[in-house]
């Protein structure tokens, strides 16, 4: 399945919890903001937002990574556009 993973740089404070949980999807940039990778790669260059193909286990981990963010700066959407996290 595909998920849309997005970091809001205005909310991100650089806590890096997401990086600790899922470094292949999140890393920190020079602005001390988390950005989004696709399995460790950056096709199209650095970005705060990406569609990534994930397994069931990876989906669970990426949601865990989003949950770990103390400022709720990581947003996860499914293919239908439903926001999986943070819950509305």
């Amino acid at each position: 399945m595909k998920l849309r993973v997005l970091v809001d740089p205005d909310l991100c404070i650089g806590a890096a919890s997401c990086v600790t949980i899922m470094p292949e999807t999140f890393q920190m940039n020079g602005e001390n903001k988390a950005f989004v990778l696709d399995h460790g790669k950056e096709p199209g260059g650095s970005s705060y937002e990406r569609w990534i193909e994930v397994s069931d286990a990876e989906k669970e981990t990426v949601i865990l990574a989003a949950q770990s963010c103390p400022t709720l700066a990581v947003f996860i959407f499914d293919e239908a556009g439903v926001q999986l996290y943070p819950e509305l």
């Binding site: 205005d10 909310l11 404070i13 650089g14 806590a15 890096a16 919890s17 600790t20 890393q27 920190m28 940039n29 020079g30 602005e31 001390n32 770990s68 103390p70 400022t71 709720l72 943070p86």
Partner: protein, 367 residues
């Protein structure tokens, strides 16, 4: 299994959530002094600045606890723990039996001698509501007392709302138990260039009713008498091994209150940050459920002082380090400090050197 969790913050609720995933039959009780469901303390500065609504600060809704079959008891204080007969005695004169007990009581703010309605401490959501009222009262100025994380947050919040601010630090500069003079000079110069003067080596401010907000950010401390009286070993926090087990069987501690064996630092220490509390909550849940994996994390915390990025990684206690290597300078606008013990890198602080974070974290972790 009957699990009783004393404390309803991020460590305790994360532990409860993880235990529920691992054991659908566990009887889980959370005794929480606060009345609010779980919220993110780290979101409170965003809430003060209007970046997020008050509602968005909450990480759990009240009904979440019952949906997960977790007995959440807000507004309940534990008065004593009987580790022989395995029960806790609460403020409501109830005795609650446990098979496993998790202590995640966190910390309280340190206070100054004087008090007044214009004195602000900032740790809880209620503190934030109070601070917002003070800011809305159109104060003439603000005085921040302290030189740590919360002092920075006060400075940022007051700047956002256009309140003229000055800072009194107790030490010679910000984080003087961690940072060198070079870093201290950089932070003070950065603040001064933005209209915030810092007075070093200051004593407690005299609280006067002159339309000044006093933002007090002089650190936190754990309340340990409950555990000490129960025969649970305490020092600066509740002492645990690398499995977050205390000296008493079936009693565990995690989060800000735990003085745990930090295997990456090679010593027992207290770590008061969100990442550590959350990860320990998750780790201790597994340990309680029988999956005995030692807790291992290079935790970090990032803050900024009016836009100056400051990142703390690993063990940055200057007194516990054998040596500290300082690179960069205030003049260059960027400083990094590396803390060594036993010939090994155990911690670092990066000021305006964000890109060094990964390499340093990996080196501390030993990966």
């Amino acid at each position: 299994m009957r699990l009783v969790i004393i404390g309803g913050g991020i460590a305790g609720v994360t532990a409860a959530e993880e235990v529920r995933k691992l054991d659908s039959d566990a009887e889980i009780t959370i005794l929480s002094e606060e009345f609010h469901p779980l919220y993110s303390r780290v979101l409170l500065p965003h809430f003060i600045k209007g970046k997020v609504s008050r509602e968005r600060v909450f990480l759990k809704k009240p009904e979440w606890y019952s949906e997960k079959n977790i007995d959440w008891q807000p507004g309940v204080v534990v008065k004593s723990i009987d580790t022989n007969n395995k029960f806790v005695h609460t403020s409501e004169e109830r005795e609650i039996e446990y098979d496993k007990l998790l202590i995640v009581t966190g910390c309280d703010v340190r206070t100054i001698g004087e008090d007044g309605s214009n004195v602000s401490y900032w740790r809880t959501l209620d503190d934030t509501d109070h601070l917002l009222k003070l800011i809305a009262s159109n104060p003439a100025k603000a005085t921040v007392f302290g030189g740590g994380f919360m002092a920075c947050e006060y400075v940022n919040a007051f700047a956002h709302h256009g309140v003229s601010t000055s800072v009194l630090t107790r030490g010679p500069w910000f984080w003087s138990k961690i940072l060198s003079k070079e870093s201290g000079t950089l932070i003070n110069a950065h603040l001064a260039a933005r209209g915030v003067d810092v007075t070093p080596n200051a004593t407690e401010p005299t609280v006067m009713d002159d339309n000044t907000i006093f933002g007090i950010g002089i650190g936190i401390h754990p309340e340990l008498s409950l555990m000490r009286d129960a025969g649970i070993e305490v020092n600066e926090g509740v002492k645990t091994n690398e499995y977050l087990e205390t000296n008493v069987p079936d009693v565990y501690a995690a989060g800000d209150v735990a003085e745990f064996m930090d295997v990456t630092a090679g010593r027992q220490r207290v770590v008061g940050n969100y990442m550590n509390a959350q990860m320990q909550g998750r780790a201790v849940a597994k340990i309680i459920c029988g999956e005995k994996v030692r807790f291992e994390l290079v935790s970090s915390y990032a803050t900024n002082a009016l836009g100056l990025e400051i990142i703390f990684i690993g063990d940055t206690d200057r007194n516990a380090a054998d040596s500290v290597e300082v690179q960069g300078s205030a003049r260059e606008g960027a400083v990094s400090e590396r803390f060594f013990r036993g010939g090994k890198l155990v911690g670092a602080v990066l000021i305006n050197k964000n890109l060094e974070r990964k390499v340093i974290t990996d080196e501390i972790r030993g990966s």
